[in-house]
Amino acid sequence: MPVRHGLLTLLSRGPRHGYQLRVEFEASTGATWPLNIGQVYTTLSRLERDGLVKPGESDEQGRVVYTITAAGREEMVRWFSTPVIHSDRPRDELVIKLAMAVAAKKVDVAEVIHKQRTATMRALQQLTRAKRAATEGAAQRLVLDSMIFQAEAEQRWLDHCEAVLKEER
């Protein structure tokens, strides 16, 4: 669960309260993964339950400051040393849609591809604009780069589908 480990990583830089964690999380992910404050506190209480963080005194505004524990640091190290496996990836609606369009025979697949390609390109243009405007440093830009590479992969796959289907006809 990346939010859990993300918060642990931020806490490894020093004690923080929930609101601070939320701001820093969004800044380093380029706000591509918005967190609500409720989610932050739910995650913190689970981390506390598991002994990975401990709450301290509340500050003058009543906010509780959390500190990472030794077990929390170990968990963070374990996270960074484990590769991410995409086996549990949610199924992609676009892939299913195109497969169904091909199977249905009566659907204009080329048109589905054109519409999607234009929409994906627009998304890619927006991401590129966001990247040009990104000022929060390398972490933010790299998150946007990841989304750019994914959109690009989709675009290439659509081109590939078009070329393959053209030969089939």
Partner: protein, 230 residues
Amino acid sequence: MTFVRLAEVARVHGEGATAVHALKGVSLEVDVGELVAVMGPSGSGKSTLLNLAGGLDRPTSGTVHIGEQDLATMRDLAALRRRSVGFVFQDLNLITSLTAAENVMLPRELDGLRSSLARKEAMAVLAEIDAEYLADRFPDELSGGQRQRVAIARALVGERRLLLADEPTGALDTRTGDEILQTLRARSDAGAAVLLVTHEPRYAAWADRVVFLRDGMITDTTDTSLVSAP
């Protein structure tokens, strides 16, 4: 303000049964300060489109205007190209026996400019793209990305405000490719009309508008509004 305008442009190579219809009635405009990307697979007519837009080739039918000028009425396309159009290709851009600055000066010297003045202009345009420090290096002392940026400077030296780029990111890695697009983008934001041909979505995405070319026809463009499926 439109700077280059192609109207119903067709280009046929050869004739009769073996005729190849490279472009079949393409209309496209690029405004001052606009970056337009043309995407398409090989054989879709991308390079033909670029060559027609820059007056390297003439259409079989349809018209091409650069600024106010109808290219069909121009005798001396070479002079027009030198004055108004800059080209950047994938490679073979720079003359290896000349320094970066001398390469950039060259089109202006061909225009008849004194070499001191040409040098001044070359240094100015190199400064605009933060490449002044490359001025006295020879092409083989430059990285691929640096060579392309010098080629962009050369394409824009003097009064030229139309830049045509054919796969300028060629074999460059994505980070260097992004730098090239950054330079093209900055030049277009500064008022140049830029037409970029690429088959790479990530670079096309820097454009204000992306045009998809298939089999010599524009099949789609990103500036039309699209209703997304529920």
